[in-house]
């Protein structure tokens, strides 16, 4: 196995991502002003050009992974608020307004409040995290996320010692989310949660982009969680609220079917779902006749995270 470690680039050398992201807007605005004498606003739409170039790679990774083609990742999402169809979600999700976006941070913290996403981002150093993403449906892909550690956001708002869990709430917008409108299947809005030590773990990130571009809407724009050693449904999309709690929050899938989906939902080949095996996974982007991949405990991140669960029976706390 090739062990690839990239030296972290000192933060002084990293361009402010917002400044970088809006560079065209700024230049176009300047040109516009020059030509017409009037300011040009909102010239930047999603123009499919990279928003980040040469992002520093986070040095949290110990394995070298082959990235899944972006087209697959962009057209294979479980976004049940929109549809139960993984491909249809791509189009439907475009209806979600993501700009401006604010996140409410509340509960057991010293500095609760409603924060503009841009203000939150301006204080973070954005890096690339190449993670394997393992769905509870027994498929996986490798995604180069663009984001920052959740821990550094939490440190900013200063959790109190009473904070034992973190609850995440996704957007509730039934006007653009058909399954919220008809109350289909799950209880909306979507809620997920982590134990505080899981949330503070350096592998746990909040992602704002992937493949060097800002996050596609179907993949959870503008802000989503990524917890690489847990099944994908833990990695909640379109977060509007982060609450620090004394007790474990009731999470959406766990509430829907507690025997099928546990609070922890750590990737574990030895604990099958009641109706299907978790022993192997189909790697998206692999060719026909390619055998499935043997699923690894904690999705291969055991070296980093197994200690969080050292005294726990993983069959009981699945």
């Amino acid at each position: 196995m090739i062990i690839k470690k990239t030296k972290a680039i000192p933060s002084s050398e990293i361009t402010d991502p917002l400044l970088f992201k809006h560079r065209r807007q700024i230049i176009k605005g300047m040109v516009g002003t020059l030509l017409t004498g009037a300011g040009v606003t909102s010239v930047l739409a999603n123009d499919n050009k990279p928003d980040w170039v040469d992002l520093p790679k986070a040095d949290v990774l110990s394995q070298s992974l082959t990235v899944t083609p972006a087209e697959i990742v962009k057209n294979h999402t479980n976004y049940y608020e929109f549809t139960f169809n993984k491909t249809d979600a791509t189009n439907l999700a475009q209806n979600l307004p993501t700009d401006p976006w604010s996140v409410e941070i509340s509960g057991e913290v010293e500095k609760p409040g409603v924060y503009h996403l841009e203000d939150l981002l301006s204080q973070q150093s954005i890096q690339e995290y190449i993670y394997r993403f393992r769905c509870v449906e027994a498929w996986s892909m490798v995604v180069p996320w663009v984001g920052f550690p959740l821990a550094s956001l939490l440190k900013m708002v200063k959790p109190l010692s009473s904070a034992q869990f973190v609850k995440f709430t996704a957007i509730y917008d039934p006007n653009v989310m058909p399954n919220q409108k008809v109350n289909a299947m799950l209880e909306w809005p979507y809620v997920e949660g982590l134990r505080i030590d899981e949330a503070m773990h350096p592998l746990t990130i909040l992602a704002v982009g992937m493949y060097g571009e800002s996050m596609p809407k179907q993949n959870g724009a503008p802000l989503r969680l990524v917890v690489p050693w847990k099944y994908g449904f833990k990695s909640i999309k379109a977060i509007v609220k982060i609450e620090l709690m004394k007790r474990a929050p009731i999470t959406t899938w766990n509430k829907f079917s507690p025997n099928d989906y546990g609070f922890y939902s750590n990737v574990n080949p030895d604990v099958p779902h009641p109706r299907w095996s978790q022993n192997s996974e189909r790697q998206l982007g692999s060719r026909f006749f390619t055998p499935r991949r043997q699923t690894e405990l904690f999705n291969g991140y055991g070296n980093d995270v197994a200690s969080l669960y050292s005294d726990m029976d993983l069959r009981h706390f699945f």
């Binding site: 087209e71 993984k86 109706r275 022993n279 192997s280």
Partner: protein, 240 residues
């Protein structure tokens, strides 16, 4: 035998092969989406299931329209269900798993949804093997008993479909409704026949009814099916 396009049989054969052609075209043009193997599973499984439903549909259609001679098509549709189910399983073993038997074994052992699919497939194999005319002749009464297992197979298929879903039940629900209708039709028919059998028991009242019917239709003892059956029941309901 020369293959002739103008017979109903050959036309049906071609139509039954269209779903396969469609799948082949989608494979060729890489048109199966981001998870092509899963799409193949669903497509082939769906067609196996649809042909199973069509097979079950033959008898009700025959009873309602009184159009005889559809048994040959029933056999053919059943064999197509077997054909698509076999492709479905080949894709699982070969395309999805590359014949890695160890991983396949664990997958089957730990996935209860696969057990139901397997039950259905084992039944369908037995039915396919015993489907030729000579087998039917040789097996006599046992043949019908064996082929009634198709009801178990169709229920197993529904569970197989449901069990692998994370939660969205809309599509299998549609199939569940279809299979329910097909089964309800048969249960109704069974009750109707049971009533008829009861009438054959020589109680005074029933004998009277039968004799009335006999007067109305002297061919009764020869042909106990179709309109005569209806007539008998109507007459039985009428007060003496």
């Amino acid at each position: 035998m020369v293959f002739r396009l103008d017979t109903l049989w050959s036309k049906i054969t071609l139509v039954c092969l269209l779903p396969l052609l469609w799948v082949m075209i989608d494979i060729t043009f890489d048109n199966l989406g981001p998870d092509p193997i899963q799409t193949l599973h669903i497509r082939l499984g769906d067609w196996a299931m649809r042909f199973l439903w069509l097979t079950l549909l033959v008898t009700p259609v025959q009873t309602i329209t009184k159009w005889r001679g559809m048994a040959v098509y029933r056999q053919m549709l059943g064999l197509y269900a077997f054909f698509y189910a076999t492709l479905h399983i080949m894709v699982y073993l070969l395309v999805d798993h590359g014949l890695m038997w160890q991983i396949i074994a664990v997958d089957i052992l730990e996935s209860s949804y696969i057990w139901f699919g397997l039950i259905a497939y084992l039944i369908i194999i037995a039915l396919a093997i015993s489907s030729p005319k000579w087998a039917k002749k040789r097996m006599g009464k046992q043949w019908k008993k064996l082929h009634q297992l198709i009801y178990i197979a169709s229920l197993a298929v529904i569970i197989h479909y449901y069990w692998q879903l994370k939660g969205n039940m809309a599509e299998p629900l549609f199939y569940l409704i279809i299979i329910s209708l097909l089964l309800v039709f048969r249960v109704a028919l069974w009750f109707k026949n049971r009533k008829f059998t009861k009438m054959m028991i020589p109680t005074t009242r029933r004998i009277k009814v039968v004799s009335v019917a006999k007067v109305l239709n002297p061919e009764l003892s020869i042909d106990l099916q179709g309109p005569v059956l209806k007539e008998l029941i109507i007459q039985e309901v009428e007060p003496d």
